[in-house]
């Protein structure tokens, strides 16, 4: 390639030989992968209390079952990184991969490659196309969440008539979009005078969620309430309402992560918020993986054994439900530490 003025031919040959020797030694020194069960747990992104709690639950299940659970994911909601991590897990020859997907179709090729390599795949919290995984652990039915949001809002606002703002994550979040669809459907049937004139994206950013709410409420002061359909937005929305001194006029409810909303439940600016237990969903995902690995996963039996969660029900051929949404109030929020 280059003019060999720099090194003599002999030196280059010796150098090459040494390089080959080192590499061969290294290759020979490595041992075969362990026979234990290793499960790759991939969240939407890693730096988030919700997903960290899911990991906690997963590690709890892993300890009970004697598995190893490896938690790795992108730092932001990036599907390319998730795809790469799946490929790395495939090379590691893990036993199963459980992922909460940033995009339902983009991860399918990587997951299919995993399946081709004999690795079990399942999803939790956010699904992919059904052909890429054996089962999806859904934390709540979409109708259930929609209903819960609407009922909570009517209770908090004291009325079901008027305009209500919806603050969401990014406009393409699949879970959020289904919930919004369901809550609108439910409201149209039960509370026809409930209007939802706007859906604003908070982009999973606290400051942004606050600012969009601030600007909207200033322009539309007759708004009766704001529903925050993603956990990160809720504190931002409440801050906006508080700053405008509209706590008594505008009710806030929505998804609530206890550590984020504790202060607001205590000071009354938030009455109710709902979530499911992320610890439980991580825990459940590992048990679901176990059922798949053991071959005991059978939709016809109607349920899956999930350790301390009891039996989780199949709500369709390939979806298992975690349970009902849990409503946090100032009375019960202290029991939770995530």
């Amino acid at each position: 390639m280059h003019r060999s003025t720099a090194m003599s031919f002999k030196t280059r040959r010796a150098f090459l030989a040494a390089a080959v020797a080192i590499t061969a030694l290294a290759g020979g020194a490595m041992k075969a992968s362990a026979e234990d069960v290793v499960i790759g747990l991939i969240p939407k992104f890693t730096s988030d209390p919700y997903f960290v709690a899911a990991d906690k639950g997963a590690q709890e299940a892993a300890k009970e079952l004697g598995y190893t659970v490896e938690f790795n994911g992108p730092v932001d909601a990036n599907v390319a990184t998730q795809s790469d991590i799946i490929d790395k897990f495939v090379r590691r020859r893990v036993t199963a991969i459980a992922v909460s997907a940033n995009d339902p179709t983009a991860l399918a090729p990587a997951l299919k490659r995993a399946r081709d390599a004999g690795i079990k795949t399942l999803t939790w919290d956010a699904d992919v196309t059904p052909d890429a995984r054996s089962v999806f652990l859904n934390q709540a039915t979409f109708e259930g969440m929609g209903r819960t949001f609407v009922d909570m809002m009517v209770r908090s606002a004291g009325t079901s008539e008027g305009d209500f703002l919806i603050v969401t994550a990014v406009l393409t979040s699949p879970n959020q979009n289904r919930w919004i669809e369901e809550l609108k459907k439910y409201a149209a049937e039960k509370y026809p005078k409930m209007n939802f004139p706007a859906i604003l994206p908070g982009d999973e950013d606290l400051e942004k969620s606050k600012n969009v709410t601030l600007n909207y409420l200033q322009a539309n002061p007759e708004t009766k309430g704001v529903i925050a359909v993603t956990g990160i937005a809720t504190p931002g929305v409440i801050e906006a309402v508080k700053q405008l001194d509209m706590v008594d006029k505008v009710a806030v409810t929505g998804l609530g992560v206890p550590s984020l909303i504790r202060t607001y439940l205590k000071d009354g600016s938030l009455k109710e918020a709902a979530l499911w237990s992320p610890i439980d969903i991580g825990y459940g995902a590992i048990y679901l993986a176990k059922a798949e690995i053991d071959g005991t996963l059978d939709p016809k039996s109607g349920s899956v054994d999930a350790g301390r969660l009891g039996k989780l029900k199949f709500i369709s051929d390939d979806t298992v439900l975690l349970g009902d949404p849990f409503i946090f109030t100032k009375d019960n929020v202290d029991q939770f530490d995530f």
Binding site: H2, T23, A26, M30, A80, D87, R91, A106
Partner: protein, 318 residues
Amino acid sequence: MNARSLSMDRFRVNRSMVLALIFIIQIAVTSLLVPGYFDIRGLLDATRSFSEAGLIALGMTLVIITGGIDLSVGALLALVSVTIGFSYQAGLPLWAASLAGVGVGTLGGLFNGAFITYFRLHPLVVTLGTFALFRGIAYAVSDANAVSGFPDWFSLFGQTTLGWFPLQFLFLCLFVVIFWVVLSRSAFGRYVYAVGHNEVAARFAGISTNSVLLAVYTLNGFLVGLAGLIYTSRIASARGNAGLGLELTVIAMVVLGGTKITGGSGTIVGTMMGILILSYLQDGLTFAGVRADWGLIFIGVFLILGVFVNEVFRERSR
């Protein structure tokens, strides 16, 4: 070539040898520490994730040799991807959409080059603006949506292998050879170095520096277009947040390879080494289960370190 450039050649070769040694040691150490890592199939498989950045690094090498920089490559990648996806969704046949994507990439590079040469603005400033502009357009066009559902044949670019080698890696190797020839054996390559050494002197020597700069940035854009096509095919999805942070990785690859950030010197071989070292470092870390957040830190450190070390070398060789 006179005696001075000969000694620079020696320096260049030495550095590439050092880098190659570092690379081999890196792979060896990782293989020793992490069971299961040393698997030829697996290591080749890893090339799938970095071939796109590698392609762009080739173009970026030329850009940096001329003394400039291009911060907009990640954003342009997103724009290319979105173009492919959304024009396909709008009804354009996929092959045409793919061409459109590559075309958009080339135009983006041309846009950068035109602003830099016509308005006489510093590349840093222009590409900082286009860094936001391109991604902004990508977001606006896609409206934060994503397009997927591409036909199976589309995965040709990003998901197939030829024997054991992923196709995009072979593609990368091909371009490495092409660019090596262009940079070290053609007149254009010599002009690129000349402009980087001393733009005013080059102009006085009769080189049309504006054309050279324009060509370099457009070429970079073209490579981003190709990379965007491969990326979209690999992920089978077109979305606006593709390539976030890509510019950092690409620049780090180039400077690790020995290219001076101030311009005037650098080689394709060096860049190739930089690509391998950085990519397999990340690969090894992820494989070992290290959290992706560390990856951010590592790239940043290597970027700064790479440039810092280059500066130290510069003092030595005087």
